[in-house]
């Protein structure tokens, strides 16, 4: 895969992150007062709204893709041995997918799970 394709991903996720993170910060303290924003009922209603939950999910994917690609770039700039390069490329991909999976699990369970 050409590096320019990965950079295109980096730029696209960057722009998406600027929008979604700004929205997330505004929702968590400006449009909704902070104390209320982190209350159980409020958080539950956010996850139970299809649009809001979808936005959170996209935010998760975008920020993880952008952040871990950035970490990959930093690590590959640090050392260039073949084994290190292979290890970093695979390791970062695995960790990114694992965290995406774990975060998505939170979103799905919050959106559909039994409340206790």
């Amino acid at each position: 895969m050409r590096e320019s394709s990965l950079m295109r991903l980096q730029y696209v996720t960057a722009v998406a992150a600027i929008v979604l993170v700004s929205l997330h910060l505004l929702m968590q303290g400006v449009l909704v007062p902070y104390g209320e924003a982190v209350s159980f009922q409020r958080v539950l209603s956010v996850y139970r709204s299809a649009v809001d939950a979808a936005l959170l999910e996209v935010l998760l994917l975008v920020v993880l893709a952008h952040g871990f690609n950035g970490l990959r770039i930093i690590l590959l700039e640090w050392r260039q041995e073949a084994a290190w390069t292979r290890g970093v490329n695979w390791g970062v991909l695995v960790v990114t997918l694992a965290l995406m999976g774990y975060g998505t699990r939170t979103v799905i369970l919050a959106a559909t799970g039994q409340v206790t």
Binding site: Y11, A14, V15, A17, I18, V21, S22, L25, G29, V30, P33, Y34, V38, F40, V43, L44, Y47, L60, V63, L64, G67, F68, G70, L71, I74, W78, L99, Y102, G103, R105, T106, L109, A110, T112, G113, Q114, V115, T116
Partner: protein, 151 residues
């Protein structure tokens, strides 16, 4: 030791040392450092928000698990951490937007013949002002969010 000195590579210190250099170099150092800081926070945040559904072994939204989580994060130290996060996120985002514009060649002057004293034109246009915008807006956002959280 002689080999390392002979090789004369600065190593990671070369990334982190902006002394004697232009402000864009400072912006680069902070972009790298804030990026890693935000990534670390995001990983922790994915962990802590999972306690809304009871953590790794939970099955659904649990008010008791969430209350326990808020018990850990809702205090002065937790709020200070969030203020720092807002500071680094806003800086990283605005400086990042400047980088996107620069790396698309959109906020520079046209190439033209160098004139004495040969100062680089790319370092003198609006892109330099955007660095200050990033710093100032980040500080303002952090102060504002601090005010919101601490009442």
């Amino acid at each position: 030791m002689a080999d390392k000195a002979a090789a004369n590579r600065r190593g990671v210190a070369g990334w982190l040392d902006p002394l004697h250099f232009n402000i864009e170099r400072w912006a680069y150092v902070f972009q790298r450092v804030t990026g890693l800081a935000v990534l670390a926070y995001v990983v922790g945040h994915i962990g802590d928000t999972s306690f809304f559904v009871g953590g790794p072994f939970g099955e659904g939204p649990s008010s008791s698990s969430w209350a326990a989580d808020l018990g850990v994060t809702e205090n002065v130290l937790g709020h200070l951490v969030l203020v720092m996060v807002v500071l680094v996120v806003v800086y990283h985002g605005i400086n990042g937007a400047r980088l996107i514009l620069a790396e698309y060649g959109l906020i520079f002057a046209k190439p033209s013949r160098p004139e004495y004293p040969y100062r680089a034109k790319s370092l003198r246009t609006v892109q330099r002002h955007l660095i200050w915008v990033a710093i100032v807006v980040a500080i303002l956002a952090a102060l504002y969010s601090g005010g919101l959280m601490m009442g």
